[in-house]
């Protein structure tokens, strides 16, 4: 069985090399080339795909926890969901979490993931005190904000191309409830959407669903959801059990479903312009995890997610251009996710910059890549970039224009002979 990424595209033949003990990993590194680490395969594209795949997930022990400071040391294969199961009942939560909890700590660092609180909390690397990295030589180095800083900046967001993250110490944050008090704001167009993001910037968590079919005056209409943890002392967290999609699904069913869902929420009588709800952790942070293997909805050919970010100054104009191209193309998912991000960090390949990010799914079909190439040109024109964790097709030229530190990253790869050991389909395509 070949390992795949979340988008089920591309599919390649590969051999999996799982390890539980560090000495077994040394052995794997000594005997293979074209290796890439693989966490839980929740990246959408080809960043975790190569001929030889190092499966980190079985390397999954909790190593240490400090009950007073909330500092947690884990092996890199631990899933965020495991951290939540153990620690939410004790009043701790992840400082930074993406929209799925089914990723490994190693994968969270390698993509320097971000969540609904990026505008005030930054990327995952912010909560990482240190990690241990195995280099191509088999040597293990400790990297942090103050130690081996070059390797730290290259590895956070470095898509597995600097070596294997073995274990990491991350800090958790105190919470006092399993519930979030959520406010939902309904906007009529992009202008209102932007204004709403600015107005609610002091809320710790925010994200918007935007209607990609809307044209003309309604372009950019959205449901903005903001919120923060309650303080009711109820920490009785039990992860929700999942529905599962057992087989590949015809794509049209999905679009009908999401259209219905959005319209129901948007036009539903219950929905005032501003409304409030109390929702639990899983509903607020991980709505998609409620349906296991929802990626099968896109059918056998798979899908890709297109996620871009534009600097704040050009966001309005740029998003208008991009959204109208998408809505004209009649491709793409009906719903997209929009969010205002905070300041960029110093990591060489981390995705976030201060501005607006848009993400939406496209099923793989004829004409798609031409459309995405067109969109890329707009992204470049407005000074933006695309997210490697979601990508399966961007060109080297477009990538390089978006990531000015690509050359620094390359130089470091050469310095440690990383390019001779660790390569993914993505790194080969991008000349990394």
């Amino acid at each position: 069985m070949n390992l795949t990424s979340w988008g089920n595209y591309p599919l390649i033949e590969n051999k999996a090399h799982p390890f539980t003990q560090v000495k077994d990993l040394e052995d794997i590194l000594a005997h293979h080339e074209d290796l890439i680490p693989y966490g839980n395969g929740r990246s959408y594209g080809d960043s975790a795909l190569s001929k030889h795949i190092i499966q980190v997930k079985p390397h999954n022990l909790f190593l240490d926890f400090n009950e007073t400071t909330g500092q947690l040391h884990v092996q890199a294969g631990i899933l965020l969901s495991e951290v939540l199961e153990v620690f939410v009942p004790r009043g701790w939560f992840l400082k930074i979490t993406p929209g799925t909890k089914l990723i490994t700590v190693g994968g969270a660092i390698a993509s320097d993931v971000h969540g609904k609180n990026h505008h005030n909390a930054g990327c995952f690397s912010e909560c990482v005190a240190f990690f241990n990295l195995m280099l191509p030589s088999g040597d293990i180095v400790t990297c942090s904000h103050t130690e081996n800083t070059e390797l730290f900046k290259a590895t956070c967001g470095g898509m597995g191309l600097t070596g294997v993250i073995l274990d990491a110490s991350i800090s958790l944050k105190r919470i006092n409830s399993r519930y979030i008090k959520q406010t939902t704001i309904k906007t009529k167009n992009l202008k209102e959407t932007f204004a709403a993001f600015e107005r609610y910037q002091s809320e710790p968590y925010s994200v918007a669903w935007i209607d990609c079919l809307a044209k003309g005056k309604g372009l950019g209409k959205c449901l903005l959801m903001v919120g923060d943890f309650q303080a009711d002392g109820d920490l009785n967290y039990h992860p929700k059990s999942n529905l599962n999609i057992p087989f590949n699904f015809p794509g049209f069913v999905l679009s009908k479903l999401t259209v219905k869902l959005f319209n129901w929420l948007y036009y539903g009588k219950v929905f005032k312009k501003i409304s409030q709800q109390q929702v639990d952790i899983d509903t607020f942070f991980y709505p998609l995890d409620a349906i296991g293997h929802w990626n099968r909805i896109y059918g056998k050919k798979g899908f890709t997610q297109y996620q871009i970010i534009l600097p704040k100054e050009t966001s309005y104009e740029g998003l208008e251009a991009i959204l109208s191209t998408i809505s004209k193309s009649a491709k793409g998912s009906f719903l997209a996710v929009l969010k205002l991000y905070g300041k960029a960090n110093n990591n060489y390949l981390s995705f976030p910059i201060e501005g607006y990010s848009l993400a939406l799914d496209f099923k793989i079909e004829k004409g798609l890549f031409e459309l995405l190439d067109q969109l890329d040109q707009r992204v470049i024109k407005y000074g933006g970039r695309i997210y490697l964790a979601k990508d399966a097709r961007v060109s080297q030229a477009v990538f390089e224009q978006g990531y000015p530190q690509a050359e620094t990253f390359r130089a470091l790869r050469r310095q440690y002979q990383m390019h001779e050991k660790f390569n993914s389909l993505q790194s080969t395509r991008l000349g990394l």
């Binding site: 022990l61 190593l63 153990v86």
Partner: protein, 243 residues
């Protein structure tokens, strides 16, 4: 809180059992040789479960140490589960008595030495449970592994007698007879997936059977019927078979 003592705690089955008992709020003693290698596993369990997990050095072949080992435990356990075992090499054992000796002592003599001591304590306290992991291999000797099988047969007989003795003291004895289990012991063997259990499934079954105070457990359950048939094949036919 009450402790469960797990003997041979490095075994894959034992580790799955340890997880299961920690999840169910038991504190644990993990006993094994070179037990320091288990520190990291024990720490993980303790963090996940918030239970106390202590590692204790024990060589099941060093019978002279067993009395001290048991009486040095800071608090006496409520139950003991033994998973030590050694499959060894049948071919080697046929010609090299050292190997035969090791198979017998690891699976039988050593376990008996320790359980004798623990049984005395439990009997006096009128409480406790003893879980011994034997094997379906002990149900009938076959040419492919009868040295191991005979040691397990002896262990099964011992556990049966112990159950009989301790019944009146309210001490429970559970004999576990796994079929194939996917562990270090069977790594590299071509096992039929239908007949092979994962260590986690074995641990769940053991926990359930122990809590229900059962006497004998076959796992997977299918093995009970397979062994029933195998035990009833007439010897005249059985001796000609290669199974």
């Amino acid at each position: 809180m009450s402790y469960v003592l797990i003997i041979g705690a490095k075994s894959d089955i034992a580790q799955a059992i340890a997880k299961k008992y920690a999840e169910n709020n038991y504190d644990l003693y993990l006993a094994a040789r070179q037990v320091n290698e288990l520190n990291i596993f024990a720490k993980d369990l303790a963090i996940r479960s918030k239970q106390t997990v202590q590692c204790v050095e024990l060589d099941i072949l060093d019978t002279a140490s067993h009395h001290t080992f048991y009486h040095a435990l800071p608090e006496k356990p409520e139950g003991v589960i033994t998973a030590v075992g050694y499959l060894g090499s049948q071919d080697l054992a046929q010609t090299d008595f050292k190997e035969t000796h090791k198979i017998i002592d690891t699976n039988y003599t050593g376990v008996v030495s320790l359980l004798n001591i623990i049984a005395e304590d439990f009997e006096q306290r009128h409480s406790g449970f003893i879980v011994g992991i034997s094997s379906v291999a002990g149900d009938r000797g076959r040419k492919s592994n009868y040295i191991y099988g005979s040691a397990k047969a002896a262990l099964s007989a011992y556990l049966s007698g112990l159950r009989n003795r301790l019944y009146s003291s309210g001490v429970q004895v559970l004999t576990v007879k796994p079929g194939f289990v996917a562990t270090k012991m069977t790594a590299g063997m071509a096992l039929s997936p239908r007949l092979t259990a994962q260590p986690e499934a074995v641990a769940n079954a053991i926990y359930k059977a122990q809590q229900k105070k059962n006497n004998v457990l076959y796992t997977k359950g299918l093995w009970k019927w397979i062994m029933l048939i195998i035990k009833h094949i007439p010897e005249g036919l059985f001796k000609k078979l290669s199974i």
